[in-house]
């Protein structure tokens, strides 16, 4: 897409568990000396300030996360984010993988990975991918709690006017 050879980019949305080993194999190329990989995993405990509890901190126990997406658009946005990373930093390879469906405790919901000649760019571009994915890709997360309740996580993406691709 938009000039990025498929050899350098790996993007997917899948129900199957994500494989870190394949990510490492993909990202470690001779042109790169620094590889940064971010994993999003299902956390058991969430602390929130509940208005109902008078602003007190409430600790809730999650049993699993459930992800839903608008797949064709999410893939399109993910490609765009990766294209932007390639345009901004000397990136040699990048991947952005998202799992959907049910993701249990400790399991991986998302992997963002960047290989660059030097480490500073790998960190910056990887951070960019995950931060922008979380505001722009049409993917939603529902938390299922141990008490049987569930709620859609309130994202913090602004409604509109929609930011240009260059907004961070």
């Amino acid at each position: 897409m938009t000039g990025i050879s498929n050899d350098s980019v790996w993007i997917t949305i899948q129900e199957m568990p994500l494989s870190l080993e394949e990510v490492s194999e993909f990202l470690r190329v001779e042109e790169a000396g620094g590889v940064d990989i971010f994993l999003g995993t299902t956390r058991r405990w969430t602390e929130t300030e509940e208005k109902a509890a008078g602003g007190k901190t409430v600790r809730r126990e999650t049993v699993l996360l459930e992800y839903e997406c608008y797949k064709p658009m999410a893939l399109k946005e993910m490609h765009r984010l990766v294209d932007e990373a390639f345009a901004r930093w000397p990136v040699r390879r990048a991947c952005l993988l998202h799992r959907i469906g049910e993701v249990s405790l400790r399991e991986i919901s998302v992997i963002a990975g960047v290989a660059a000649p030097h480490r500073a760019d790998a960190f910056t571009a990887c951070r960019y991918l995950i931060d922008t994915l979380k505001t722009r890709a049409p993917i939603w997360k529902k938390e299922h709690f141990v008490d049987g309740n569930a709620r859609w996580v309130e994202g913090d993406s602004a409604p509109e006017p929609f930011s240009s691709p260059d907004t961070m």
């Binding site: 999003g40 608008y70 995950i130 979380k134 049409p138 993917i139 996580v153 994202g155 409604p159």
Partner: protein
Amino acid sequence: MGDKKLQSVQVLLFSVIREQAGIDATTLHLDPGEAVSAGALLERLAATYPAIRPMLPLVRIAVNREYVPREHIVRAGDEVALITPVSGG
């Protein structure tokens, strides 16, 4: 008459707004030559599914898989999606 399809707009709903509306997709019909903004289309949808109205201020609209401003004119054949604040990752 293939016109029927050309005069309609497919609307997709996800996540919390999908659950509130109780549908994940619906079809809205446009009059021939009608120009409707994305924002006006949301209002029309809320008239049918009032439960989604409180969420509308938070919704971003995508037309044909691209975010658009509310003033964007929707055309027959477009795919419109209601994007509540995303929470992937």
